[in-house]
Symmetry: C2
Protein backbone atom coordinates (compact mmCIF):
# COMPACT_ATOMS: atom_id res chain seq x y z
CA UNK A 1 0.00 0.00 0.00
CA UNK A 2 2.75 2.36 1.06
CA UNK A 3 4.60 1.77 -2.21
CA UNK A 4 1.53 2.50 -4.33
CA UNK A 5 0.76 5.65 -2.33
CA UNK A 6 4.32 6.90 -2.48
CA UNK A 7 4.33 6.82 -6.29
CA UNK A 8 1.50 9.35 -6.41
CA UNK A 9 3.20 11.87 -4.15
CA UNK A 10 6.18 13.86 -5.49
CA UNK A 11 9.48 13.08 -3.81
CA UNK A 12 9.92 16.60 -2.46
CA UNK A 13 6.54 16.44 -0.71
CA UNK A 14 7.25 12.97 0.69
CA UNK A 15 10.58 14.15 2.04
CA UNK A 16 8.93 17.01 3.89
CA UNK A 17 6.42 14.56 5.39
CA UNK A 18 9.30 12.37 6.52
CA UNK A 19 11.08 15.36 8.07
CA UNK A 20 7.85 16.41 9.83
CA UNK A 21 7.52 12.95 11.35
CA UNK A 22 11.22 12.88 12.22
CA UNK A 23 11.07 16.22 14.08
CA UNK A 24 8.21 14.92 16.23
CA UNK A 25 9.97 11.65 16.99
CA UNK A 26 13.41 13.16 17.72
CA UNK A 27 11.89 15.85 19.94
CA UNK A 28 9.88 13.35 21.99
CA UNK A 29 12.23 10.39 22.19
CA UNK A 30 15.69 11.88 21.74
CA UNK A 31 18.13 10.83 19.05
CA UNK A 32 19.12 7.52 20.54
CA UNK A 33 15.66 6.16 21.31
CA UNK A 34 14.04 7.47 18.11
CA UNK A 35 13.24 4.55 15.81
CA UNK A 36 13.10 4.66 12.03
CA UNK A 37 9.96 2.49 12.30
CA UNK A 38 8.14 5.19 14.25
CA UNK A 39 9.31 7.89 11.82
CA UNK A 40 8.16 5.87 8.80
CA UNK A 41 4.82 5.18 10.44
CA UNK A 42 4.40 8.85 11.35
CA UNK A 43 5.06 9.82 7.74
CA UNK A 44 2.71 7.12 6.45
CA UNK A 45 5.42 5.47 4.36
CA UNK A 46 7.46 2.27 4.45
CA UNK A 47 10.79 2.22 6.27
CA UNK A 48 12.73 1.29 3.09
CA UNK A 49 11.37 4.45 1.45
CA UNK A 50 12.74 6.57 4.30
CA UNK A 51 16.16 4.95 3.83
CA UNK A 52 15.91 5.34 0.05
CA UNK A 53 15.23 9.07 0.34
CA UNK A 54 17.33 10.03 3.36
CA UNK A 55 19.95 7.27 3.63
CA UNK A 56 20.43 6.87 7.37
CA UNK A 57 19.23 8.03 10.78
CA UNK A 58 22.26 10.34 10.95
CA UNK A 59 21.46 11.99 7.63
CA UNK A 60 17.81 12.27 8.52
CA UNK A 61 18.75 14.00 11.80
CA UNK A 62 21.10 16.29 9.93
CA UNK A 63 18.38 17.20 7.40
CA UNK A 64 15.99 17.93 10.29
CA UNK A 65 18.47 20.25 11.98
CA UNK A 66 19.27 22.09 8.78
CA UNK A 67 15.59 22.61 7.98
CA UNK A 68 14.61 23.69 11.51
CA UNK A 69 17.59 26.03 11.92
CA UNK A 70 16.90 27.67 8.55
CA UNK A 71 13.20 28.08 9.42
CA UNK A 72 14.02 29.71 12.77
CA UNK A 73 16.54 32.13 11.29
CA UNK A 74 14.09 32.96 8.47
CA UNK A 75 11.28 33.63 10.98
CA UNK A 76 13.44 35.95 13.09
CA UNK A 77 14.83 37.73 10.03
CA UNK A 78 11.38 38.22 8.51
CA UNK A 79 10.04 39.66 11.78
CA UNK A 80 12.70 42.37 12.07
CA UNK A 81 12.01 45.77 10.53
CA UNK A 82 15.45 46.57 9.16
CA UNK A 83 15.09 50.37 9.05
CA UNK A 84 13.65 50.73 12.57
CA UNK A 85 15.61 51.96 15.63
CA UNK A 86 17.65 49.32 17.43
CA UNK A 87 15.18 48.77 20.26
CA UNK A 88 12.29 48.29 17.82
CA UNK A 89 14.38 45.82 15.79
CA UNK A 90 15.22 43.85 18.89
CA UNK A 91 11.59 43.81 19.98
CA UNK A 92 10.33 42.58 16.61
CA UNK A 93 13.10 39.98 16.41
CA UNK A 94 12.26 38.67 19.89
CA UNK A 95 8.56 38.54 19.06
CA UNK A 96 9.34 36.58 15.88
CA UNK A 97 11.59 34.23 17.84
CA UNK A 98 9.02 33.47 20.55
CA UNK A 99 6.19 33.14 18.00
CA UNK A 100 8.20 30.62 15.98
CA UNK A 101 9.40 28.56 18.93
CA UNK A 102 5.83 28.47 20.31
CA UNK A 103 4.40 27.40 16.92
CA UNK A 104 7.10 24.73 16.37
CA UNK A 105 7.90 23.38 19.84
CA UNK A 106 9.26 20.11 18.46
CA UNK A 107 11.60 21.89 16.08
CA UNK A 108 12.81 24.10 18.92
CA UNK A 109 13.33 21.10 21.22
CA UNK A 110 15.47 19.37 18.59
CA UNK A 111 17.61 22.47 18.02
CA UNK A 112 17.92 23.47 21.66
CA UNK A 113 18.08 20.15 23.47
CA UNK A 114 19.06 17.48 21.00
CA UNK A 115 21.34 18.86 18.38
CA UNK A 116 24.27 20.15 20.37
CA UNK A 117 25.64 16.87 21.54
CA UNK A 118 25.48 14.41 18.68
CA UNK A 119 28.92 14.84 17.26
CA UNK A 120 30.64 17.56 15.34
CA UNK A 121 28.54 18.02 12.19
CA UNK A 122 25.24 18.56 14.03
CA UNK A 123 26.71 20.67 16.80
CA UNK A 124 28.50 22.85 14.25
CA UNK A 125 25.32 23.55 12.27
CA UNK A 126 23.48 24.67 15.37
CA UNK A 127 26.49 26.64 16.60
CA UNK A 128 26.64 28.47 13.26
CA UNK A 129 22.95 29.40 13.46
CA UNK A 130 23.34 30.54 17.05
CA UNK A 131 26.44 32.60 16.21
CA UNK A 132 24.48 34.36 13.49
CA UNK A 133 21.74 35.32 15.95
CA UNK A 134 24.22 36.35 18.67
CA UNK A 135 26.03 38.61 16.19
CA UNK A 136 22.77 40.24 15.14
CA UNK A 137 21.76 40.88 18.77
CA UNK A 138 25.23 42.10 19.73
CA UNK A 139 25.19 44.59 16.83
CA UNK A 140 21.79 45.87 17.98
CA UNK A 141 23.03 46.35 21.53
CA UNK A 142 26.06 48.21 20.19
CA UNK A 143 23.79 50.35 17.99
CA UNK A 144 21.48 51.06 20.93
CA UNK A 145 24.40 52.19 23.06
CA UNK A 146 25.46 54.48 20.22
CA UNK A 147 21.93 55.85 19.67
CA UNK A 148 21.76 56.62 23.36
CA UNK A 149 24.87 58.71 22.77
CA UNK A 150 26.97 56.51 25.00
CA UNK A 151 29.39 54.69 22.71
CA UNK A 152 32.50 53.99 24.69
CA UNK A 153 30.40 53.89 27.85
CA UNK A 154 29.73 50.23 27.23
CA UNK A 155 33.03 48.55 26.45
CA UNK A 156 33.16 46.14 23.52
CA UNK A 157 33.63 43.25 25.86
CA UNK A 158 30.52 44.15 27.80
CA UNK A 159 28.50 44.47 24.60
CA UNK A 160 29.71 41.02 23.48
CA UNK A 161 28.82 39.54 26.85
CA UNK A 162 25.37 41.12 26.80
CA UNK A 163 24.66 39.65 23.35
CA UNK A 164 25.33 36.18 24.71
CA UNK A 165 23.35 36.90 27.88
CA UNK A 166 20.31 38.06 25.95
CA UNK A 167 20.32 35.11 23.54
CA UNK A 168 20.69 32.69 26.46
CA UNK A 169 17.82 34.42 28.26
CA UNK A 170 15.62 34.11 25.16
CA UNK A 171 16.48 30.42 24.72
CA UNK A 172 15.70 29.66 28.33
CA UNK A 173 12.41 31.60 28.19
CA UNK A 174 11.36 29.81 25.00
CA UNK A 175 11.99 26.46 26.66
CA UNK A 176 10.02 27.55 29.72
CA UNK A 177 7.15 29.00 27.68
CA UNK A 178 6.72 25.60 25.95
CA UNK A 179 6.91 23.60 29.18
CA UNK A 180 4.16 22.34 31.49
CA UNK A 181 5.74 24.51 34.23
CA UNK A 182 4.61 27.67 32.44
CA UNK A 183 1.06 26.34 32.44
CA UNK A 184 1.34 26.11 36.22
CA UNK A 185 1.85 29.87 36.41
CA UNK A 186 -0.55 30.81 33.62
CA UNK A 187 -3.38 28.38 34.43
CA UNK A 188 -4.11 24.90 33.08
CA UNK A 189 -3.62 24.55 29.35
CA UNK A 190 -2.59 28.17 28.95
CA UNK A 191 0.79 29.29 27.78
CA UNK A 192 2.36 32.75 27.77
CA UNK A 193 1.84 34.35 24.36
CA UNK A 194 4.83 35.19 22.20
CA UNK A 195 4.14 38.88 22.83
CA UNK A 196 3.97 38.42 26.62
CA UNK A 197 7.26 36.56 26.63
CA UNK A 198 8.93 39.06 24.32
CA UNK A 199 7.62 41.93 26.46
CA UNK A 200 8.97 40.40 29.68
CA UNK A 201 12.42 40.01 28.22
CA UNK A 202 12.36 43.32 26.39
CA UNK A 203 11.34 45.24 29.52
CA UNK A 204 14.07 43.58 31.47
CA UNK A 205 16.78 43.88 28.83
CA UNK A 206 15.99 47.31 27.52
CA UNK A 207 15.54 48.89 30.89
CA UNK A 208 18.79 47.28 32.06
CA UNK A 209 20.63 48.42 28.98
CA UNK A 210 19.19 51.91 29.34
CA UNK A 211 20.52 52.22 32.85
CA UNK A 212 23.89 50.85 31.80
CA UNK A 213 24.24 53.30 28.92
CA UNK A 214 23.28 56.03 31.38
CA UNK A 215 26.37 55.01 33.30
CA UNK A 216 24.48 53.47 36.21
CA UNK A 217 26.12 50.39 37.65
CA UNK A 218 25.14 47.96 40.32
CA UNK A 219 27.89 47.77 42.91
CA UNK A 220 28.44 45.12 45.56
CA UNK A 221 28.80 47.83 48.17
CA UNK A 222 25.54 49.62 47.36
CA UNK B 1 51.52 -2.63 36.30
CA UNK B 2 48.09 -1.02 36.45
CA UNK B 3 46.80 -3.90 38.54
CA UNK B 4 49.63 -3.60 41.05
CA UNK B 5 49.21 0.16 41.27
CA UNK B 6 45.47 -0.05 41.68
CA UNK B 7 45.83 -2.29 44.72
CA UNK B 8 47.70 0.43 46.58
CA UNK B 9 45.12 3.15 46.01
CA UNK B 10 41.84 3.06 47.98
CA UNK B 11 38.75 2.42 45.89
CA UNK B 12 37.18 5.81 46.68
CA UNK B 13 40.30 7.62 45.45
CA UNK B 14 40.49 5.47 42.31
CA UNK B 15 36.84 6.18 41.55
CA UNK B 16 37.40 9.93 41.76
CA UNK B 17 40.36 9.57 39.39
CA UNK B 18 38.14 7.66 36.97
CA UNK B 19 35.44 10.32 37.19
CA UNK B 20 38.05 13.06 36.61
CA UNK B 21 39.21 11.29 33.46
CA UNK B 22 35.61 10.63 32.37
CA UNK B 23 34.63 14.32 32.71
CA UNK B 24 37.53 15.32 30.46
CA UNK B 25 36.73 12.68 27.87
CA UNK B 26 32.95 13.25 27.80
CA UNK B 27 33.41 17.03 27.57
CA UNK B 28 35.86 16.80 24.69
CA UNK B 29 34.47 13.90 22.66
CA UNK B 30 30.77 13.81 23.54
CA UNK B 31 29.01 10.79 24.98
CA UNK B 32 28.91 8.73 21.83
CA UNK B 33 32.52 9.11 20.74
CA UNK B 34 33.96 8.85 24.26
CA UNK B 35 35.79 5.53 24.64
CA UNK B 36 36.27 3.56 27.82
CA UNK B 37 39.85 2.94 26.67
CA UNK B 38 40.60 6.65 26.72
CA UNK B 39 38.95 7.07 30.10
CA UNK B 40 40.91 4.17 31.59
CA UNK B 41 44.14 5.52 30.14
CA UNK B 42 43.38 9.01 31.44
CA UNK B 43 42.82 7.58 34.91
CA UNK B 44 45.97 5.44 34.69
CA UNK B 45 44.08 2.20 35.29
CA UNK B 46 43.04 -0.83 33.25
CA UNK B 47 39.73 -0.85 31.43
CA UNK B 48 38.45 -3.89 33.36
CA UNK B 49 38.97 -1.95 36.60
CA UNK B 50 36.77 0.89 35.30
CA UNK B 51 34.04 -1.65 34.51
CA UNK B 52 34.53 -3.35 37.87
CA UNK B 53 34.05 -0.08 39.75
CA UNK B 54 31.48 1.72 37.60
CA UNK B 55 29.78 -1.06 35.63
CA UNK B 56 29.08 0.58 32.26
CA UNK B 57 29.55 3.70 30.19
CA UNK B 58 25.99 4.71 31.05
CA UNK B 59 26.57 4.38 34.78
CA UNK B 60 29.88 6.18 34.53
CA UNK B 61 28.18 9.06 32.70
CA UNK B 62 25.45 9.12 35.31
CA UNK B 63 28.00 9.23 38.14
CA UNK B 64 29.80 12.10 36.37
CA UNK B 65 26.60 14.11 36.05
CA UNK B 66 25.62 13.55 39.65
CA UNK B 67 29.05 14.59 40.91
CA UNK B 68 29.33 17.66 38.68
CA UNK B 69 25.77 18.83 39.37
CA UNK B 70 26.27 18.45 43.13
CA UNK B 71 29.58 20.35 42.96
CA UNK B 72 28.01 23.22 41.03
CA UNK B 73 25.05 23.55 43.38
CA UNK B 74 27.41 23.36 46.38
CA UNK B 75 29.64 26.09 44.93
CA UNK B 76 26.72 28.43 44.28
CA UNK B 77 25.16 27.72 47.68
CA UNK B 78 28.46 28.28 49.51
CA UNK B 79 28.99 31.59 47.72
CA UNK B 80 25.65 33.09 48.74
CA UNK B 81 25.45 35.11 51.95
CA UNK B 82 22.06 33.96 53.21
CA UNK B 83 21.31 36.97 55.44
CA UNK B 84 22.24 39.60 52.87
CA UNK B 85 19.74 41.67 50.87
CA UNK B 86 18.40 40.02 47.70
CA UNK B 87 20.67 41.89 45.28
CA UNK B 88 23.76 41.00 47.29
CA UNK B 89 22.69 37.34 47.43
CA UNK B 90 22.18 37.26 43.69
CA UNK B 91 25.54 38.91 43.10
CA UNK B 92 27.41 36.47 45.31
CA UNK B 93 25.55 33.50 43.78
CA UNK B 94 26.41 34.65 40.26
CA UNK B 95 30.05 35.18 41.20
CA UNK B 96 30.16 31.66 42.68
CA UNK B 97 28.53 30.25 39.55
CA UNK B 98 30.95 31.92 37.13
CA UNK B 99 33.97 31.09 39.30
CA UNK B 100 32.99 27.43 39.41
CA UNK B 101 32.17 27.09 35.69
CA UNK B 102 35.47 28.82 34.82
CA UNK B 103 37.44 26.55 37.16
CA UNK B 104 35.72 23.38 35.90
CA UNK B 105 35.02 24.01 32.22
CA UNK B 106 34.81 20.29 31.41
CA UNK B 107 32.27 19.67 34.15
CA UNK B 108 30.21 22.60 32.93
CA UNK B 109 30.38 21.40 29.31
CA UNK B 110 29.11 17.95 30.34
CA UNK B 111 26.21 19.43 32.34
CA UNK B 112 25.29 22.13 29.87
CA UNK B 113 25.93 20.49 26.50
CA UNK B 114 26.03 16.75 26.96
CA UNK B 115 23.67 15.70 29.70
CA UNK B 116 20.32 16.96 28.51
CA UNK B 117 19.91 14.66 25.57
CA UNK B 118 21.03 11.23 26.61
CA UNK B 119 17.78 9.76 27.72
CA UNK B 120 15.52 10.32 30.67
CA UNK B 121 17.65 9.55 33.72
CA UNK B 122 20.47 11.95 32.80
CA UNK B 123 18.19 14.69 31.55
CA UNK B 124 16.10 14.45 34.72
CA UNK B 125 19.11 14.83 37.02
CA UNK B 126 20.23 17.97 35.23
CA UNK B 127 16.69 19.30 35.05
CA UNK B 128 16.31 18.84 38.81
CA UNK B 129 19.53 20.73 39.49
CA UNK B 130 18.50 23.50 37.13
CA UNK B 131 15.02 23.75 38.66
CA UNK B 132 16.62 24.20 42.08
CA UNK B 133 18.73 27.11 40.81
CA UNK B 134 15.82 28.68 38.91
CA UNK B 135 13.66 28.54 42.04
CA UNK B 136 16.39 30.20 44.11
CA UNK B 137 16.83 32.99 41.55
CA UNK B 138 13.08 33.47 41.12
CA UNK B 139 12.67 33.82 44.90
CA UNK B 140 15.43 36.44 44.97
CA UNK B 141 13.77 38.41 42.18
CA UNK B 142 10.48 38.25 44.04
CA UNK B 143 12.21 39.36 47.25
CA UNK B 144 13.91 42.21 45.43
CA UNK B 145 10.62 43.42 44.03
CA UNK B 146 9.22 43.32 47.55
CA UNK B 147 12.22 45.11 49.07
CA UNK B 148 11.81 47.81 46.46
CA UNK B 149 8.32 48.21 47.86
CA UNK B 150 6.75 47.10 44.62
CA UNK B 151 5.19 43.72 45.31
CA UNK B 152 2.26 43.33 42.99
CA UNK B 153 3.95 45.63 40.51
CA UNK B 154 5.73 42.63 39.03
CA UNK B 155 3.14 39.93 38.41
CA UNK B 156 4.01 36.39 39.49
CA UNK B 157 4.19 35.28 35.90
CA UNK B 158 6.71 37.98 35.10
CA UNK B 159 8.83 37.04 38.11
CA UNK B 160 8.78 33.38 37.02
CA UNK B 161 9.75 34.36 33.47
CA UNK B 162 12.58 36.56 34.71
CA UNK B 163 13.99 33.72 36.83
CA UNK B 164 14.24 31.56 33.72
CA UNK B 165 15.63 34.45 31.67
CA UNK B 166 18.37 35.19 34.19
CA UNK B 167 19.43 31.56 34.54
CA UNK B 168 19.52 31.18 30.75
CA UNK B 169 21.59 34.35 30.48
CA UNK B 170 24.05 33.04 33.08
CA UNK B 171 24.35 29.66 31.32
CA UNK B 172 25.00 31.29 27.98
CA UNK B 173 27.56 33.69 29.47
CA UNK B 174 29.38 30.84 31.21
CA UNK B 175 29.61 28.96 27.91
CA UNK B 176 30.89 32.08 26.18
CA UNK B 177 33.38 32.94 28.91
CA UNK B 178 34.95 29.47 28.50
CA UNK B 179 35.06 29.64 24.70
CA UNK B 180 37.83 30.74 22.34
CA UNK B 181 35.45 33.48 21.12
CA UNK B 182 35.76 35.27 24.46
CA UNK B 183 39.54 35.26 24.04
CA UNK B 184 39.00 37.09 20.75
CA UNK B 185 37.41 39.98 22.64
CA UNK B 186 39.68 39.86 25.68
CA UNK B 187 43.00 39.25 23.93
CA UNK B 188 44.86 36.02 23.19
CA UNK B 189 44.81 33.54 26.04
CA UNK B 190 42.80 35.83 28.28
CA UNK B 191 39.35 35.05 29.56
CA UNK B 192 36.85 37.28 31.34
CA UNK B 193 37.20 36.80 35.10
CA UNK B 194 34.29 35.40 37.07
CA UNK B 195 33.83 38.82 38.68
CA UNK B 196 33.77 40.61 35.31
CA UNK B 197 31.17 38.22 33.96
CA UNK B 198 29.06 38.38 37.11
CA UNK B 199 29.28 42.19 37.05
CA UNK B 200 28.14 42.39 33.41
CA UNK B 201 25.10 40.26 34.10
CA UNK B 202 24.37 41.85 37.46
CA UNK B 203 24.49 45.37 36.02
CA UNK B 204 22.19 44.36 33.23
CA UNK B 205 19.77 42.35 35.32
CA UNK B 206 19.63 44.51 38.39
CA UNK B 207 19.28 47.75 36.51
CA UNK B 208 16.55 46.20 34.35
CA UNK B 209 14.76 44.86 37.37
CA UNK B 210 15.07 48.19 39.13
CA UNK B 211 13.38 49.99 36.29
CA UNK B 212 10.68 47.35 36.09
CA UNK B 213 9.91 47.56 39.79
CA UNK B 214 9.81 51.35 39.36
CA UNK B 215 6.98 50.69 36.93
CA UNK B 216 8.96 51.67 33.86
CA UNK B 217 8.17 49.58 30.80
CA UNK B 218 9.57 49.47 27.33
CA UNK B 219 6.78 49.93 24.83
CA UNK B 220 6.80 49.18 21.11
CA UNK B 221 5.42 52.66 20.44
CA UNK B 222 8.13 54.53 22.36
Amino acid sequence: MGAVKSKRVPRAVREQQMLDAAVRTFARRGYRAASMDEIAEGAGVSKPLVYLYLNSKDELFSAVIRREAAALVAAVTAAVEPEAPADRQLWSGLTGFFAHTAAYPDGWAVLHQQARTHGEPFALEVAAMRAEIVEFVTDLIGAAAKEAGCAGELADREVAGLGHALVGAAESLAEWANSPAASGVYGAGERPSAKDTAATLMNFAWAGLGRMTDGERWSPGG
